[in-house]
Symmetry: C2
Subunit: 597 residues, 2 copies
């Protein structure tokens, strides 16, 4: 069985030493999560991940979900009980408002623990994950009655939630959707249509399932301007607000997928199901984006999670597996062979994964902190700046962390050689599970377009300029420090490439939007490299300071600096290739007629 | 069901117009495969692939193989009959010597058709594929009795073959192997031990299975110097050379794998199985390399095959799926949306795959031609030069084509969005099947080490110098041609990076071999880019000539030039990043103690 140890020490280092978590004690909820409490919560989350979630991960993969003839769905053995432990631990409401039964703690902590839980059981964690997206949407767009009706039960975990967007003929292009909503005249609607790829669409974990469903009210405008969002519970609520009669919604079938077998991916059939409007009529897209943005960060976290657990298992295997001799002389002379961790090409894989994981974790936590500031600060300027950064980093985290998370799951599998291809070692599952994160909640090509097409230009480029300024100033302020200079140099080179690419887009994409599309994926990854490089810069600075202070855990900080060097030497050079590709524009790629493919 | 059309036109173009196949008519077997005959054979192979292999591909994935209580194994429904068609078509012996019942045609044709067959059913094609490796080993190392006994039946396909190398504790490091061979005193041996990951180890397709087994004769030296190769038939032969009593070998279990479910991957238990020595006592490694080299080219071809069929299906989906509008205005104004092939980021994926597939096919066929020259020419110098190039390109083809083949299967799956993650569309199977090619027959890290550690230095660097000279001269001779100059410039830049990397290795890896290991994977891919870039150079030159001659199929050639341009603009820039990484050496990557991971 795969092993896993929650990187609590690293999370604490990032929050306390690098990202200035303690400086935000005045934000609502932060005082309740002082560094001591933070540590205790992380330790509890780690236990849940390691003792409850991990042992069920392969069970979920092997057993999958089952749809019964009556349309009901059961989850793999043990999932229900594990979810109950999650629920009883109060994890669902960790960072939701106390007003509806949550604990109101920082979202940052939710994200930190979310990494451990996703690493150990991504499929299981999708059930509460989708619920959180639904909670967020109801919090922002629900009327008070809806909030009182649904939030306490969902935050308690008694009820779970889903997002119903995709239809057979439309995923990305939601303007095409056909699910209909007909007003009943009493404020409720009858929803009819078919939704596909609905994660956690039906299951046996909760007493009710609150579906958030995009549909078109009869007579609404064409396209995305005519889409509304509805709350459609699996069981209609009785007079006391308890689940009563079945609503007109059922799971028509389960999809056979490459991975995340433990999550029920449902075709959902709506047949005059009763629902209420969430948010404004025809304002569905906006309401949906609340849960979508939340979900995108969660999916980016899944990418990191898979990369981390795959890395840990590759390390364990590389330390144990004896094969061949070190090129620089035997390292295990009394044995018949050396452990494969002595081989540089194995190191290359391990270092690549680790350099990414540690910077990826920093980027997620930095962004989560920005999310807390954006939602909780009473300083409007700080709120706006944090919200800008959150919006800018959302597609980067979703796109880059999932692309790389998958790549690293594959890399870790490769360390196992033939044993990695055999299901019993669990490495194949990480690869198969990680694969979906590149696709759902907006395929990564869509994230890239969101970045170049929306986020860059928003508010006159305010967010991106702020990011460039912050990274540029970091380099400028630290380049005189000879211990930091080798790192600021690498980051600055990356930033220069990114700024050149941005300039190229400004000059070439306005008149010819295909140039933006042609650049988008490379731009996304170029942006990701600079953001991750910047995180390494901040970690090196923090660790150098700790070392200068004579920190007890000197080795921890010295190792950080080595990994940072690896990132600069082996990962950052990619920025030039991205810039070169971006600068060639769209002409060649669009030159062939569609028939010529 | 996935679609597939064999790229016969492209194969013919490469052989006839680009690689000079017709110039080799004087080689044995080539006269029998004049361009007309060649075309007819390719057409037959295409039919077999499209009509017989393709419909069984998903069947094999879903059904897998079954081991019965008596240890016997049955293949998925239809596999046996399809194999019979393959056999009756004479495909097994297409390029093996007429002396033992083969047709003696060029190996180049075998490779060309092999691509189509692997694309359409990789798992099924492994049964004959492993047989061919065994045939090659017996041809080179068998004594006349062994040849007469085994080859006609194997070339006929009545008997199949396997390679038994790996044991639970050793894969790459064969020096550790423990399977024992005890002489019976009559020239036969009793073989005992356990082998794992034995593809096609047992099945119901053939009357006998000829296992080639690496084992250690009692008293043999330690390590790889004490390994011998044995022929161990599943059924011992009776006095007439027909399968008789069962030998002491059986399939202990089947592995549950990520993909290639249609192929039986067996744990094979040898319990005093009777076998005869193939080749010299303790000369097993050398004998094994004959089949290994053959197999490595075959596995590289699998990488290309998966990339090609995945590409074709991504194209079909991208043409059909309506979603969103072109950034440059509606392309399907009467429809509700445009086909996604209008989006630059989708084009990027398609062009990347295609630019690789067409150059990869050229590289395989060029190398196959070199293999034919190396084995059939009566000009010793030509033979040596071709053999040098064959040896040099073997790890490049195996490593690069399988890494990229997998990457492209993933890329094609991404074009399908959520539908790619659902098994019914077949894209997941391509990804899962393609994954193994990076691992077996020497994991790609081993290919990289073979290139930097063995092939570069062999014969004083003769092979690599010849390659540099050939590519350099191509650039030099064509740079004055303004239609070719943009391409030779890109190739030359790549070649310069590759030569700089080679120089860096010469200066830094002798004294410190870890520098070679640290560079190896990047060097492999850098080499691959230059080799593929060179193939594009040759294709552009050929197509420019065809266009100048006023060829009827002008569009075909014009498209080639567009794809070549894409390769130069978007793929070749990667060479600089590889060089930058290589030049940083091993220090950082080896800096951490193993415990620090």
């Amino acid at each position: 069985m795969p092993i896993y140890q929650s990187p609590v020490q690293d999370t604490l280092y990032l929050l306390n030493d690098v990202l200035g978590y303690p400086d935000h004690a005045s934000l609502p909820g932060f005082a309740d999560a002082s560094p001591d409490v933070l540590e205790a919560i992380l330790a509890e989350g780690a236990k849940l991940a390691e003792n409850v979630m991990l042992p069920l991960n392969r069970v979920g993969d092997l057993e999958g979900c089952t749809r019964h003839d009556d349309g009901s769905v059961t989850t793999p053995k043990g999932f229900r009980a594990a979810y109950q432990q999650y629920r009883e631990g109060g994890w669902m409401g960790l960072s939701t408002p106390a007003e509806y039964g949550g604990q109101g703690l920082p979202y940052t902590i939710h994200a930190a623990v979310g990494e451990y839980l996703s690493s150990t059981n991504m499929a299981l964690m999708m059930y509460p994950g989708l619920t959180q997206g639904a909670i967020a949407a109801i919090l922002v767009h629900g009327n008070e009655e809806q909030k009182q009706t649904f939030l306490p039960k969902m935050i308690d975990g008694a009820w779970t939630g889903t997002m119903n967007l995709t239809e057979p003929h439309c995923g990305t292009d939601l303007g095409l959707l056909r699910t209909r909503a007909v007003p009943n005249g009493d404020g409720t609607y009858r929803i009819s249509g078919q939704k596909i790829f609905i994660s956690a669409g039906d299951h046996d974990m909760s007493d009710n399932i609150i579906h958030l469903v995009l549909a078109r009210i009869d007579g609404a405008p064409e396209g995305v301007k005519g889409i509304s969002l509805f709350i459609v519970p699996k069981f209609r609520l009785d007079a006391n607000g308890n689940p009563g009669a079945a609503n007109g919604v059922s799971c028509g079938s389960l999809e056979e997928k490459m991975g995340i077998h433990g999550n029920a991916t449902c075709v959902m059939n709506y047949d005059e199901a009763e629902g209420t409007l969430l948010g404004a009529e025809n304002g569905g897209l906006k309401a949906m984006f609340v849960m979508m943005n939340e979900a995108r960060l969660g999916v980016g976290l899944q990418g990191l999670s898979m990369s981390e657990i795959a890395y840990q298992n590759a390390v364990a295997y590389a330390r144990e597996r004896l094969q061949g001799r070190s090129l620089s002389g035997p390292k295990n002379p009394q044995g018949k062979a050396d452990p494969i961790i002595v081989h540089p090409d194995i190191r290359r894989a391990l270092m690549t994964m680790r350099a990414f994981n540690e910077a990826g974790r920093a980027l997620v936590l930095w962004t989560a902190l920005n999310s807390d500031i954006a939602h909780r600060s009473d300083d409007e300027k700080a709120r706006q700046a944090a919200d800008d950064m959150l919006g800018l980093m959302t597609p980067v985290i979703k796109g880059v962390l999932t692309d790389k998370g998958f790549e690293h799951a594959v890399m870790a599998q490769q360390v196992f050689g033939g044993h990695g291809y055999i299901e019993e070692h669990g490495m194949s599952q990480f690869v198969r599970d990680a694969r979906i994160a590149m696709i759902y909640e907006g395929a990564n090509g869509i994230q890239a377009l969101d970045l170049v097409g929306r986020k860059l230009a928003q508010n006159g480029g305010r967010a991106v300029q702020a990011f460039f300024k912050e990274v540029g100033e970091f380099c400028e302020q630290n380049r005189a420090d000879e211990k930091l200079a080798p790192f600021t140099k690498g980051i600055k080179k990356g930033l220069n490439d990114l700024q050149a690419a941005t300039m190229w887009l400004m000059q070439n994409a306005m008149a010819k939007p295909d140039n933006a599309g042609a650049a988008s994926t490379d731009y996304l990854h170029l942006f990701g490299l600079v953001a991750l490089g910047y995180m390494w810069g901040r970690m090196v600075k923090a660790s150098q300071e700790k070392l200068a202070e004579g920190a007890a855990d000197a080795a921890f900080h010295e190792n950080k600096i080595v990994i940072a060097r690896y990132f600069m030497e082996r990962v950052m050079p990619e920025t030039s290739a991205h810039l070169a590709r971006i600068s060639t524009g769209a002409d060649t790629m669009m030159a062939l007629p569609a028939e010529a493919f």
